[in-house]
């Protein structure tokens, strides 16, 4: 039997660490490695303020969002047996965003830290249920994508309505726009705590890799081979929806992460989910931290824009390839 890809996991973590150091050093104020260490240890108060108030929360949110979206995409691909399924394309991210936007517009965001993630989760679950109704399991690419197009348009309308109905409260509108663009600006420790639930979600996902292999080749087949399919599906659906919702609640709609990362990893290590689950979580974190870094290097491009610039062409290329 194949061993878990420990070498690749270590390589992934090393890459993540390297990007983390770059991400913490780079910015309006550049910090040398020495300042970095002094800042993290509070020996240099100026560097400490930059690191602990701004860059560290941003880095952690980026890593958690990346892991969540990538893991969620991987799960959806196995669930729908379609390698083009992902939270963004299916409208689950849009559901999360619509929920978050409603929470902000109603003024609930200022009452409780958990209002936005809660509403985002509710919105994401609503979207997931609609996708399930529109596109049955093992659905063709066309059906899935059309369901996603319809749902994205519908949820976009909800968001637009909230925007137009609250045009008078400028501050809330600015917040709403933030969700639509997707970004990591001004992330605080509050956001890190909000997104921290990604960690238990990811841990719950780890042991499901093997049964996901069997499910991804057909539900009835998996059942006959000993997988409790309805139970597995409930878990996968709940985890992927919650992961997407949490990511959306703290960073807005960030597209393509769940599509592109599992795809690239599948090309490198093959389709076995025992490898793909841990690697997708790490790879997602690497990808989003990297995209954030690239966006900042390009003079402040928002995260959602960078991932779309990378992911859009990639998606079109994949679509062309799958026509074959």
């Amino acid at each position: 039997m194949k061993t878990p890809p420990q070498g690749l996991v270590v390589a992934g973590f090393s890459l993540l660490l390297l990007l983390a150091v770059l991400s913490l050093s780079f910015g309006d104020v550049r910090l040398s490695p020495g300042q970095l260490i002094d800042g993290l240890l509070h020996r240099d108060e100026f560097a400490a303020t930059i690191l602990w108030q701004i860059r560290l929360p941003r880095l952690l949110v980026a890593a958690l969002v990346g892991a969540a979206l990538s893991g969620s995409g991987l799960v959806m691909q196995a669930y729908f047996r379609n390698s083009l399924a992902s939270p963004g394309l299916l409208g689950v991210s849009a559901g999360g965003a619509a929920g978050a936007v409603v929470a902000i517009a109603l003024g609930l965001a200022s009452f409780s830290l958990f209002a936005v993630p809660f509403f985002a989760t509710a919105g994401a679950f609503a979207a997931t249920l609609v996708v399930l109704l529109l596109a049955r399991r093992g659905a063709s690419t066309e059906r899935l994508l059309l369901a996603g197009v319809a749902l994205n348009a519908l949820l976009g309308a909800v968001t637009s309505y909230v925007l137009s109905a609250h045009t008078l409260t400028y501050e809330r509108n600015a917040q709403v726009l933030f969700w639509l663009l997707g970004g990591l600006e001004d992330r605080s420790w509050e956001h890190v705590w909000m997104a921290a639930a990604v960690v238990p979600g990811a841990l719950l996902l780890l042991p499901l890799g093997r049964p996901m292999d069997l499910l991804s080749l057909g539900a009835k087949e998996a059942q006959s081979l000993g997988v409790d399919v309805s139970r597995l599906r409930r878990w996968l659906l709940a985890l992927s929806t919650v992961l997407t919702a949490l990511a959306t609640a703290v960073a807005g709609t960030v597209g393509f992460v769940g599509l592109i990362v599992p795809h690239i990893l599948r090309l490198i290590v093959g389709p076995e989910h025992r490898r793909l689950v841990p690697l997708s979580l790490i790879g997602g974190a690497v990808f989003v931290v990297g995209c954030d870094l690239a966006g900042r290097a390009a003079g402040g491009l928002r995260l959602g824009i960078v991932t779309a610039l990378v992911g859009g062409p990639f998606f079109l290329w994949q679509l062309g390839r799958s026509e074959r």
Binding site: M1, R81, N82, S83, G138, R210, P211, D213, L214, S216, L217, G218, K220, E221, Q223, S224, L225, G226, V227, D228, R266, G270, P271, E272
Partner: protein, 240 residues
């Protein structure tokens, strides 16, 4: 004689009507009938895979399937669908190894199953790049790798070439001699003639069961399939 499979009063709306059947252990059983007569549905129900829509009772041996846990079911019964769609490029070997999932992925018998279905040479190929016949052999190898005593195969011969078809029949016979039970659907009535026991379905109900000579009478073949049948010498194929 031990009973391997017992169906009691099985109904699936629009597909099977109050069907009862019992199959003895150690037999190679052919399931025949025109298109749409309910062969695939019967096999799914027998495998315990249609819990929602089906009513009636399915038992393996003496135990009702509903009392058997999911993992244990996989150790007792293997089911092979008529056609599989592979979205992801798992290797042939890893798909066959999935047959050992219910045995803690111990990998036992995987190489033998690959060899039996002539798949060793392609064991590293991704399954989404195989021909229809090769895909069918992969699924059959996975089913045999489970070592389940009751094997239910949906049209396993449909896309196999003559040699692989005959080898499959030979394998079925050797599994039956070892105490296993094989139930599979097929359209070739000439091959069906050679099996231990036949189940003839028509319109979702049982038309006849028994030894091939009793089931495939010229009158019944004409009535059910709309073809004339007579025994005469024709091209005979066998393994060298």
């Amino acid at each position: 004689m031990k009973t391997a499979l017992r169906l009691e009063n099985i109904s699936v709306p629009g597909r099977l009507h109050a069907l009862s059947l019992s199959v003895d252990a150690g037999k190679v059983v052919g399931l025949i009938g025109p298109n749409g007569s309910g062969k695939s549905t019967l096999l799914s129900v027998a495998a315990g895979l249609l819990p929602g829509a089906a009513t009636g009772r399915v038992s393996w041996g003496t135990e009702p399937v509903s009392t058997i846990g999911v993992l244990e079911r996989a150790r007792r019964v293997a089911w092979v669908p008529q056609e599989a769609r592979f979205e992801f490029g798992f290797t042939v070997r890893s798909v066959v190894a999935q047959g050992r999932y219910a045995h803690g992925d111990d990998g036992a018998g995987v190489d033998e199953a690959l060899a039996r279905f002539d798949l060793l040479a392609v064991s590293g190929r991704p399954v989404d790049r195989l021909s229809g016949g090769e895909r069918q052999r992969v699924l059959l190898a996975r089913a045999v790798a489970t070592a389940a005593p009751l094997q239910l195969w949906d049209e396993p011969l449909a896309s196999l070439d003559p040699r692989h078809g005959l080898e499959l029949l030979a394998l079925a016979r050797s599994l039956a001699r070892a105490g296993g039970t094989l139930v599979f659907s097929l359209h070739d009535l000439r091959l069906a003639q050679e099996l231990d026991f036949l189940v003839l379905l028509e319109g979702g109900g049982l038309r006849a069961v028994g030894a091939p000579a009793e089931v495939l009478t010229p009158d019944r073949v004409r009535a059910v399939f709309g073809v004339e049948s007579r025994l005469q010498s024709s091209l005979c194929l066998s393994l060298p």
